[in-house]
Symmetry: C2
Subunit: 452 residues, 2 copies
C-alpha cells in the first residue's frame, strides 16, 4: 500500500530529498529500488523539477518508461527537456498515441514536430488520427488502437482475433463489433465471448453499443463512461464509423483533472495542473492573482455602496458593527447554493433548462434559512442592543439569505447556458456580488426601520 | 449518447413529468421504452420520490433490476418502501453482496434483517463477510465473489477456472493468485493468461500484487485503485488472505461521492447524498443550516472586534468604507489557498507532515499577492482619498493576504492531522476566521499610520 498505510513512504521521501540535496545518486537509486511503479510516481511528484529529472535518470530503462507513462503531461514535458535526444525518442515511440498527443500539447512545437518525424509510419498515422481532433474533444484523448470483431464471426474466431491483437490493443475486455464499412454495430464483452459456445455468432452475443462522437466534449464523454459503468467507450465519427476507444482508466484521469479544475475555480483560482509540491511559487501566484484582482476590482463596488450611505453610517456608527457578519452570512448562503448547483451540473443531475425549478427551490431554501437566522439575529441584537436594531438585523438576514441563495443557485446555470465553465461564476465571484447587494438591503432596511 | 447531445433527453423528461402529473401510466411506459439503462437511471434521478416509484413499477422485471442496481443507495431505499415484499425480496436476492450491504445501511434495521433472512445460505454468508467490516472500511464496499488461480496451475487451467466461475465473479479480467492457505501471492491479468502458452505456469505469469487491507479507509483504497490504473484491487485480511476485490467501477463511484462531499463541505454545507432535483427542500435546508449557524456564531467575533474599535470608526467614518473590500479580499486569498491544499490532500500530493513546506510556500505566495494588491490599493486610495489612507489600505492588504494565504493553507492540514475531514475546515470557516483577523490588522495599521 502506498497512500497512507505504508510505513516506508515518509522514510523514502526523507531519504530521497536528502540524497538529492547532497547529490548522492547511489542513495537515490537505493531509495527508489524498493518501490513499485505507483510508489515511484508518487515520490517523483513531490520533487522539484531538477530533483525529479535527476531521480528519473536513475531508473532502469523498462521502469523509466512505465513511470513516464503515468506522470502528468506537464511533468512529462519538464522531464523531456532534461533528457538526451535518443532517450526522448525512445520514450516517445513507446507511448500510446493518446498519451503522445497529451505530451505534444505541452512541448514546444519545434520539439514536438521533430519527435513526430522520428516515429514509424504506422505510429505517425495513429498519432495523426488523434491529433486531428480539436483540444477538448474526446477524439484527442481516445486510443486509436483497438480490436474489433464482426457480426458474422463466431465466439472462437473472436477469441482468436483478441489473441492476435493482444499486444497492441489498449483494452481487450470490451470488443466493438463493426460491419464491413467499419460502422459500429454493437459491443461484446470478452466475458460474453468466453461464456458462449465456440460456434455462437457474434451477432447473437453483441448488444447495443453506448458510443459517443469523437467531437464530443471529453469531460462529458468521460462522465458518460463512468456513469454507464463500462470499461471501454467506443468513439465514432459522424458516419458512425469506429475511430477509437476511451478506456475507463483514461476516463478516471480526465474526471480527476476536471474535478481539480472545478475545485480550484470554486475557490477562485485557476487549477495548477501539477502536483502542489512540484509547482513553483510563481506559478501558484499566477494561478491566483488574476482572479484575485478581478474580485478586488469587483469589490470596489462595495466601497461605492458604502460611500453612498456614508452619512447614515456617520449618524449611526453602531450599524457598521454588523457589516462583516451580515455580508459574511450572505456570502456563505450564496456559496452553499452555488456549490450544490455547480456539482449537480457536473454530475448531470441538473441542466440549464431546469433554471426555473432551481430558482423556485433556492428561494424556498433561502426564505427558510433567512427566517431561522433572522429570528435568531433579531432576538440576540434586540437583547444586547435595541429593539429597532434587532428588527433591522433580523429583516436584513431574511432578505440577504433569500437573495443570496437564489443568486448563488442561478449563477452556475447562467454560466453553463453562456457556455462558460459554470465554476467561473465561482464562489468568490458570487460572494463579491452578494456583498454589494447585501449592503444595499441592509441600508435600505435600516433607513426604513430607523427612519434615517 | 445521453449527457447532453441526445435530442430526446429533454423531450423524454417533459413527457415523463407530464404523464406522471396526469397519472397516465401508459404514457410513462412509452416515455421509458426507448431508453437504455443509463438513460432510464438519469430520468428516474430527476423525479420526486413518488413519481420515481410509479415510473419504476412500469419497468419490465429484468430492466427493473438492472436499473435498481445503478441507483444511489438512498434512492434504492426510497423505492423499496413503495414496493411489495415479494418484489423487494427478488431485487435483494439479485443484488451483489456489496450493493446489498450499501442498501441495508439505508434501510430500517427491522426491514434489513427480514430481507437478509430471506436469502439463500450462500448469499447470506457472502453478505455477512461484507457486513463484518466497519462503515468507512473498504471491506464493506468490496465484492466477496471472485475467481482465483494458483501458482502451480497453467494458463489453460486458469482459463478453464475463469470459464467455470464466469457467472458469479464480479470481475474476470484480473485474477488474484492465491496459495493453498488463500494467501495472496500475486495477480495475473486475463490478457496475460490469453497471451501465454497454454502450458505456462501461473507462477511465471503473475506479478506482484497491489493490495490493501479490508480495514483500510475506503476512499484511500479507491484513490489507490484509480492512481494505480488497475481494474481490480485485491482486498486482504490481516494475515494477507484474499477476502474480496474492489473493482474500478465501484472505485469510481466511491470517488465521485467523496468528491461531492468535499465540494459540499468546501461550500460550507453537508452533502445532499441524492441528486439535487430529487432532494426535498427541507433536506437541502437541513444540509445547510447547521454550518450556517456555526459560521454566524463565529461571525459574532467580527461584531466584537468592530465594537472594540467603535470609537476609531466614529472618528474616521471613511475607514468603514473599505471594510467589505478588505475582508472580502482576505477571504478570497484564504479560500484560494485552502482549496488548493484540500484538493492536494485528497489526491495524496500533500500530507500533514508537509506542513512546514506548505506554510513556507503559502507565506511567499501571500506576500507576493499582498505586494501586488497592496501597491494597487495604495495608488488608487491615495489618488481618490488621501495619502495616509492609501498607506493604510496598502499595508493592510499586504498583511491580510499574507495572513490569509498561510492560514488557508494550514487549516486543511490541521484538519487532516486531527483526523477530521480536512474539508470541514472549509472555505467559509476560513473566511470567518480571516474576517476577524483581517479587521484587527486593519484597525491596528490605521491606528499606527493615522495616529488615532
Amino acid at each position: 500500500m502506498s497512500k497512507s498505510p505504508t510505513p516506508t513512504f515518509d522514510a523514502t521521501a526523507d531519504l530521497l530529498s536528502e540524497a538529492l540535496a547532497r547529490n548522492r545518486l547511489p542513495d537515490v537509486v537505493q531509495a527508489l529500488s524498493a518501490l513499485n511503479v505507483t510508489q515511484t510516481v508518487e515520490q517523483l511528484e513531490r520533487l522539484t523539477t531538477i530533483g525529479r529529472a535527476l531521480a528519473y535518470r536513475t531508473l532502469s530503462k523498462g521502469r523509466a518508461i512505465e513511470v513516464f507513462e503515468r506522470l502528468d503531461a506537464r511533468l512529462q514535458a519538464d522531464l523531456v527537456v532534461g533528457l538526451q535526444d535518443a532517450e526522448v525518442a525512445d520514450i516517445f515511440a513507446a507511448l500510446s498515441p493518446d498519451d503522445r498527443v497529451g505530451l505534444m500539447d505541452e512541448l514546444p512545437a519545434l520539439l514536438a514536430n521533430r519527435l513526430i518525424l522520428g516515429l514509424t509510419e504506422k505510429e505517425r498515422a495513429l498519432t495523426s488520427t488523434v491529433l486531428g481532433y480539436p483540444q477538448g474533444a474526446v477524439g484527442r484523448y481516445m486510443s486509436p488502437e483497438f480490436i474489433t470483431t464482426h457480426p458474422q464471426l463466431t465466439a472462437s474466431q473472436t477469441l482468436a482475433r483478441v489473441r492476435a491483437g493482444i499486444d497492441d490493443a489498449e483494452s481487450i475486455y470490451t470488443i466493438p463489433v463493426t460491419d464491413d464499412g467499419r460502422h459500429l454495430r454493437g459491443v461484446v464483452s470478452l466475458r460474453e465471448v468466453l461464456r458462449a459456445e465456440e460456434s455462437e455468432l457474434v451477432a447473437n452475443l453483441a448488444h447495443e453499443p453506448l458510443a459517443v462522437p469523437a467531437t464530443q466534449n471529453v469531460e462529458d464523454a468521460a462522465r458518460y463512461c463512468a456513469d454507464a459503468k463500462i470499461l471501454v467507450l467506443p468513439i465514432v465519427d459522424a458516419e458512425n464509423r469506429l475511430v477509437g476507444i476511451l478506456t475507463v482508466d483514461d476516463a478516471l484521469r480526465i474526471l480527476e483533472d476536471a474535478e481539480s479544475e472545478d475545485a480550484a475555480r470554486a475557490g477562485g483560482s485557476e487549477p495548477l495542473r501539477r502536483p502542489y509540491l512540484s509547482t513553483p511559487v510563481r506559478s501558484i501566484v499566477r494561478a491566483r492573482v488574476v482572479w484575485l484582482l478581478v474580485l478586488a476590482v469587483g469589490a470596489t463596488l462595495t466601497v461605492q455602496v458604502m460611500g453612498v450611505f456614508e452619512a447614515t453610517l456617520a449618524e449611526q456608527v453602531v450599524l457598521s458593527l454588523f457589516i462583516p457578519l451580515l455580508i459574511g452570512t450572505g456570502g456563505n448562503t450564496g456559496n452553499q447554493a452555488a456549490t450544490t448547483i455547480t456539482r449537480a451540473l457536473a454530475l448531470g443531475d441538473v441542466r440549464p433548462r431546469d433554471a426555473v425549478k432551481v430558482f423556485a427551490r433556492e428561494v424556498q431554501v433561502g426564505i427558510l434559512l433567512g427566517l431561522l437566522l433572522g429570528t435568531l439575529g433579531f432576538v440576540v441584537a434586540s437583547v444586547i442592543f435595541t429593539l429597532p436594531l434587532g428588527l433591522v438585523i433580523g429583516l436584513t438576514l431574511l432578505g440577504v439569505c433569500t437573495m443570496a441563495a437564489s443568486v448563488g443557485g442561478l449563477m452556475p446555470l447562467l454560466g453553463k447556458a453562456l457556455k462558460v465553465d459554470p465554476a467561473v461564476f465561482s464562489n468568490p465571484f458570487i460572494s463579491t456580488f452578494v456583498d454589494a447587494t447585501g449592503l444595499i438591503i441592509y441600508f435600505l432596511v435600516a433607513a426604513a426601520v430607523l427612519g434615517i
